[in-house]
Amino acid sequence: MIVQIARLLKILNSESEPGQISLAFCFSMVAGLTPALSAHNLLVLLAVLLLRVNLSAFLLGWLFFSASAYLLDPIFHRIGLAVLSAAALEGLWTYLYNIPMVRFTRFNNTVVMGSLVFAVAGFVPLYYLSNTLIFRYRDRLLGWVRNTRWMAVVKATRVYSAYERLAGWGGGA
């Protein structure tokens, strides 16, 4: 059982380059901020599984952004309303509205549209911001964290030992 958990941890943490972790955060923002059952989240899931992004970071980010979405819903509604009511885009929305599969995505819902626009707009900035923060963390804080008592406790667990062993086999992480 412990080996199984360790294997899962290894898979989740296999892509640990700063770019891979940052990309995971960006995808988690899209999936977390937009309503969970939105159709576009299938594409996000496909991208997360297909691209070499860090899955642990994705899951962690998804939890964080999902919780934040409840607070941000009023802002998403305003953004979505503005975008969907924009006279210049009315023709586009009307065209899409008349395509059954597109309407099924609920793109005409103010919260779906607003959160998607917000997440897409924040995708690239978040990527670069995360990258910078991860580099700085690894340069300045990682050594100190490894020496904390909490980390010593984690390292003493059997799951961590198994994880270290497996990580050694794969050569990653």
Binding site: V48, R52, S85, Y97, F104, N108, N109, T110
Partner: protein
């Protein structure tokens, strides 16, 4: 490529999608069932239960088994129960979140069936009202009841209780008159002190005697006497005038008090009249008893029908109108707002082209169609129509119900319905369940013609009904008055009832005009008894009022006697003054 992609991710994605799809397929029936139950409960305002839902994808369709819709007014009863509901769905339309049903079949529909557990639900507003201790406004089923209106008729009024609750005008008048006499008495006593008293009048006598003695004196005294005599005479006259004026004023006041005392002695009779008319039932008051029973029942039916219309109306009304351009519509569930755009081939969100229903009534089966149930009638351009017919087993009785609801013009909503019943046997129906008197229509054979019309918020209803082979029962559980017994016997003897009614008004308030020959039957039965009861009550009340008012009236009379002593005093002083004046002249 390998640097960017992990190809096993596609397989993982496929597995996840398949798992979700299988999970959805396994749970779809339950999801649909729960969604319909909660949406139905929200619309009806009481529990909607579905035993089983079966969703099929190829071809798209839905079958519901064991639908129960609770009656919100009676949570232990289902307003409607259906054994099976089957419908075929337009799958491409579902992708556009539209429900288009060509035909929906309702089987085994029954009305007013009992429930095993209460179907009441707590809404946010009712919870708020509960917290605030508010009581819901009474509906026709709770208020405006004949039993309440007639409660006085069935219970012999207790005189002691009446006199305890009622303020007798006699006592009020007596108290007021006594206070007035007392105040006036005090004022007059003060005034007596200011008027020339017997001592002062006696002083005149001394002055007169002195003058008389002076005449017998010398010449000087004789010369001054006439002037002095005139002065005494003037002073005395002035005092006598004051006393006389006061006496006149007093007598006027005293006369007024006597009149009031006279009125006071008649006041008990006025009290008796007032209380008798209030607490006894006049024969005229019984002239609309029958109307009250039937009117109450009619009002309950109208209220229920309007309540159901208002509950279901949002489902078949057009969303916020917007001729062109996008429009915002608040969705039933979820957050955000769905923006609607113009459709190349506009379709309503909900359209059921035809409902075929079979309704099991106790005596017969009613079958028929409802056409064009839609959330957007102006778009569909056809009104909702319904037509049901039923015949009983012996084919002697028949029912036909048809009508339409036309909302195709967004500016004006029109509707009409026509119900015809011929030789239809009806079972037990409660007319009044108040403790003062329960009345029940045990059975009857009904001929009925009912037409209703709706124009926006205004409704009009016309009813003509004839009930044959009537069996009515009634009993009073509170007080076995002869009146209640007579009413019960009269109701038991009724074999035919004719009634006609018209209702006009708005959905919020209606005026009901009802005439029925039941009134005459009941009036004849109870008129003598009502008179006798009124006589008995009058006699008892007279005795009781006398006992309460005799002493205060007597006391007021004595007080007026005491007040009269002021007059005696004034008269005495006046007589004394007059005697003195006569002696001078």
């Amino acid at each position: 490529m390998k640097r960017w992609f992990r190809w096993w991710g596609i397989a993982a994605f496929a597995v996840l999608v398949v798992l979700v799809a299988v999970g959805w397929l396994l749970l779809a029936d339950r999801i649909v069932k729960n969604a319909l139950q909660s949406a139905g409960t929200r619309v009806v305002g009481a529990q909607v239960d579905i035993r089983k839902a079966d969703l099929s994808l190829f071809p798209a369709g839905l079958t519901l088994i064991g639908l129960q819709v609770t009656n919100p007014q009676q949570p232990m009863q289902n307003a409607v129960e259906a054994e099976r509901i089957a419908m075929s769905l337009d799958a491409p339309a579902l992708l556009q979140r539209k429900i288009l049903i060509e035909e929906l079949t309702l089987e085994g529909v029954r009305l007013n069936t009992p429930r095993k557990r209460s179907g009441a639900v707590k809404t946010a507003s009712s919870r708020r009202d509960d917290a605030a201790g508010k009581k819901a406004a009474p509906s026709a089923s709770e208020s405006d009841l004949p039993g309440e209106l007639l409660s006085g008729a069935f219970i012999v009024p207790d005189v002691g209780e009446i006199l305890k609750n009622e303020k007798l005008q006699t006592l009020v008048l007596a108290e007021s008159l006594r206070s007035e006499i007392e105040a006036e008495k005090r004022r007059w006593e003060q005034r007596l002190d200011e008027l020339p008293d017997k001592e002062k009048l006696a002083s005149y006598r001394s002055r007169i005697d002195r003058l008389k003695n002076a005449r017998k004196g010398g010449l000087g005294s004789l010369l001054g006497a006439p002037a002095e005599l005139v002065a005494v005479q003037n002073d005395l006259k002035r005092d006598i005038d004051r006393i006389e004026a006061s006496l006149g004023e007093f007598e006027k006041q005293s006369k007024s008090f006597e009149n009031q005392l006279n009125q006071l002695t008649k006041a008990p009779e006025a009290d008796l009249q007032r209380l008798t008319s209030k607490y006894s039932l006049s024969p005229g008051g019984l002239s609309n008893i029958g109307g009250l029973f039937l009117k109450h029942r009619l009002r309950v039916w109208i209220e229920r029908a309007i309540a159901w219309y208002q509950r279901l109306q949002p489902l078949v009304s057009r969303p916020a109108a917007a001729a062109n351009g996008p429009r915002a519509v608040v969705p039933l569930r979820g957050t955000g707002v769905n923006i609607r755009f113009a459709e190349t081939t506009p379709q309503p969100d909900l359209l059921i082209r035809r409902v075929r229903a079979g309704i099991d009534l106790k005596q017969m089966k009613l079958t028929g169609d409802v056409e064009t149930i839609t959330s957007d009638p102006p778009l569909v351009g056809r009104p909702l129509r319904f037509d049901f017919v039923g015949k009983d087993a012996a084919a002697a009785g028949s029912i036909r119900l048809n009508g339409l609801l036309d909302s195709t013009d967004p500016q004006r909503k029109l509707g009409k319905a026509h119900l015809q019943m011929q030789n239809v046997a009806i079972g037990p129906k409660s007319l009044s369940d108040r403790p003062e008197m329960t009345a029940r229509l045990q059975s009857a054979v009904v001929d009925l013609d009912l037409r209703t019309a709706l124009d926006e918020e205004r409704i009009h209803l016309k009813l003509e009904a004839g009930l044959d082979a009537v069996r009515l029962s009634a009993e009073s559980s509170r007080g076995d008055s002869g009146l209640a017994r007579a009413l019960s016997e009269a109701l038991a003897g009724v074999r035919r009832i004719n009634a006609s009614a018209s209702v006009d008004g708005t959905l919020l308030q209606q005026q009901i005009q009802l005439t029925t020959d039941l009134d005459r039957v009941l009036k004849d039965a109870v008129t003598d008894l009502a008179r006798r009861q009124a006589t008995e009550l009058t006699q008892s009340l007279r005795k009781g009022i006398r006992a309460e008012t005799n002493a205060p009236i007597k006391e007021t009379g004595l007080q007026l006697d005491r007040f009269g002593r002021v007059g005696d005093e004034l008269s005495g002083r006046l007589a004394l003054g007059d005697n003195l004046l006569k002696g001078l002249l």
